[in-house]
C-alpha cells in the first residue's frame, strides 16, 4: 500500500504544493463537509500544543470525522514507558489516520515507517511542522494571488525558527527574494544560506529594521525573539526592542503587503497594527483549518476531484 503520510513538505514539488493549495481553496469555499464521515482521526500529542491540536481537531470535525486521542501524555497512563512503536501500533488498530506531535526529532518519520495507517506530522521537536508551512504558503498565495517572484521578509529569530526554515525550503520552486532581519546571535544559519545559493534563491541580509528597509516587502513574516535563545543576556537586552514592529514603520509599505506571524505573539507586533489592512496573522491562523482539512483528505486518499465533485455533503 502506498504510504500517504505527511512527514515533511521539504521534498514536495511545485505541482504538489499547488495541488494542496487548490484543495485548501475548496475548503475555504465550504468548510463543513461530510467527506470523512465514518472515519476516525487520532490526535496524539506527546507534547502539548493546544493551538495546533485544536486546529487539526476542528478540521477533522468539520469534515465529519470522529476524533480520539490525548492532549498531553502526562495525563495518559497508556503511554507510560511504552515505546512509540507500541503506541502507534495500538492506536492504528483503532484509527484511520494519526495526527502526531512529538518532542523527539524524527519521531514522525519513524512512526510513518511502522504505522499501517497514514501519519500526519504535527511537529517533531525542532525538525518539521509541515501543516504550519502549508498554511503559510496558502496564506501567501491567498493574499498575493501567486507564490511567484515575491519579496519575503523574515524578521526575528531566524536561527531556531523552524517555521522560517521550512518556508524558505518550500519557496524554492517560486523564485522568491528573501530578506533576513535578525540579531547576530539569531541570524540565519550558514547552511540555510548555502541552501539558498545552491537552489538559486536570492537573499539579502539587512542590518536595520525600519520603514525604508521593509518598503519593498510583499510579505513581512514576524517571529518572536525569545530571551532563552540568548547565551549573552546583555546582548538580549540590547537587541530585544529592535525587532518590534510599530505602526509608524508601515508608512512606506506596499499596498499589497501583509504581516504574518505563526502566533502566539507577545509584543513583537504593536497591537494598534491589528486594525490596519496589513495585519493578516489572524486570517493566517484561520487558514490553518483549510490547510489541515486538505492535508487530512489528501492523506486519506481523497482527491481534489472528489472534493470539487462533492456537492451533496455540505451542511
Amino acid at each position: 500500500m502506498e504510504n500517504r503520510s505527511l512527514v515533511t513538505i521539504a521534498n514536495h514539488s511545485r505541482e504538489r504544493i499547488e495541488y494542496l493549495i487548490r484543495m485548501a481553496q475548496e475548503f475555504e469555499k465550504h468548510r463543513n463537509r461530510r467527506l470523512l464521515e465514518g472515519r476516525i482521526v487520532a490526535t496524539l500529542f506527546f507534547e502539548p500544543s493546544t493551538r495546533t491540536r485544536l486546529s487539526f481537531e476542528t478540521a477533522a470535525n468539520r469534515l465529519g470525522a470522529k476524533v480520539i486521542g490525548f492532549a498531553d501524555p502526562k495525563v495518559t497512563s497508556g503511554t507510560k514507558g511504552e515505546t512509540l512503536k507500541d503506541t502507534i501500533m495500538m492506536v492504528s488498530s483503532y484509527a484511520d489516520i494519526i495526527v502526531m506531535r512529538h518532542y523527539l526529532e524524527g519521531a514522525a518519520q519513524y512512526a510513518s515507517e511502522v504505522s499501517p495507517v497514514p501519519i500526519v506530522n504535527a511537529g517533531d521537536g525542532a525538525n518539521q511542522h509541515p501543516s504550519q508551512t502549508m498554511l503559510d504558503l496558502y496564506t501567501i498565495y491567498q493574499t498575493q494571488g501567486t507564490l511567484d517572484n515575491l519579496d519575503i521578509y523574515l524578521v526575528g529569530d531566524l536561527k531556531y525558527g523552524r517555521t522560517v526554515h521550512s518556508l524558505l525550503t518550500a519557496m524554492r520552486h517560486f523564485s522568491p527574494t528573501f530578506h533576513f532581519i535578525a540579531p547576530d546571535e539569531l541570524a540565519m544559519p550558514e547552511h540555510y544560506k548555502m541552501y539558498c545559493r545552491q537552489n538559486g534563491i536570492k537573499f539579502v541580509e539587512h542590518q536595520d529594521f525600519d520603514a525604508d528597509t521593509i518598503a519593498g516587502a510583499d510579505i513581512l513574516y514576524m517571529t518572536r525573539v525569545q530571551r532563552e535563545r540568548f547565551t549573552d543576556l546583555d546582548e538580549y537586552e540590547r537587541v530585544k526592542d529592535r525587532y518590534l514592529l510599530s505602526r509608524a514603520m508601515l508608512s512606506k509599505a506596499k499596498p499589497n503587503m501583509k504581516i504574518l506571524h505563526p502566533l502566539p505573539r507577545v509584543n513583537e507586533i504593536e497591537y494598534s497594527i491589528d486594525d490596519t489592512p496589513y495585519a493578516y496573522y489572524f486570517q493566517q491562523a484561520q487558514n490553518g483549518l483549510y490547510a489541515r482539512q486538505a492535508i487530512l483528505c489528501d492523506s486519506l486518499g481523497i482527491t481534489l476531484d472528489d472534493i470539487i465533485n462533492d456537492k451533496i455533503s455540505f451542511k
Binding site: L84, L104, E105, G106, Q109, N127
Partner: protein, 151 residues
C-alpha cells in the same frame, strides 16, 4: 608481501583486510561482527607499513564478505584494502566505497533524535565526498565523517 607474511601467518582461504589505521582496529572488528565468527581470525596490530608508518591487519579464515558488508567499513577506515584468498593465492583485491545509506552502524549525535530514544536501527545518508558528512534519515542532523561514532 614476503615481509608481511612473516608478520602474520599465511591464509589458505579467506579474507585479508589490510591498511587498517591501528586506532580504528577495534571499530573495524566490531563492524565486521568478528565476535560472532566461528572460523579463526588473526589480528596483526601496529605492524610496520611503508605507506602508513603503522597499520593493522586482519586475516579471517574461510570467510568472504559481500560488497555491502565491507563497504560499511568505509565509515571508520575508508582506505582499507581487502584481498580474497583462495588456496594461498590472492584472487581478488578490493577497496571500500562509502555506501549511500548506512543502516544500524552510526549513532546520531542529536540526543533529541528518535533513534536515541527508541529501540530501533539508525539510518544515515551519505551526502558525498565533497561535503564529507552523513545525514540522519530521521532528525536530518548532519554529522561530519571525522566525528562519526558507532552504535
Amino acid at each position: 608481501m614476503k615481509r608481511q607474511e612473516l608478520q602474520v601467518a599465511a591464509l589458505e582461504n579467506g579474507t585479508v583486510i589490510d591498511h587498517i589505521p591501528s586506532s580504528k582496529l577495534f571499530q573495524v572488528i566490531s563492524l565486521l561482527h568478528l565476535e560472532e565468527l566461528n572460523s579463526s581470525a588473526t589480528v596483526g596490530y601496529n605492524l610496520k607499513s611503508k605507506k602508513m608508518g603503522q597499520k593493522s591487519i586482519i586475516k579471517i579464515a574461510d570467510k568472504f564478505f559481500s560488497d555491502d558488508e565491507i563497504n560499511q567499513l568505509s565509515v571508520v577506515a575508508p582506505n582499507v584494502t581487502l584481498s580474497t584468498i583462495r588456496d594461498y593465492e590472492v584472487v581478488e583485491k578490493k577497496e571500500v566505497h562509502m555506501p549511500e545509506e548506512l543502516i544500524g552502524i552510526v549513532r546520531c549525535d542529536n540526543h533529541k533524535c528518535i533513534t536515541n530514544n527508541e529501540p530501533m536501527r539508525t539510518r544515515f545518508h551519505f551526502l558525498g565526498k565533497e561535503r564529507g558528512t552523513l545525514q540522519c534519515h530521521y532528525c536530518n542532523r548532519e554529522i561530519s565523517l571525522s566525528d562519526v561514532k558507532l552504535v
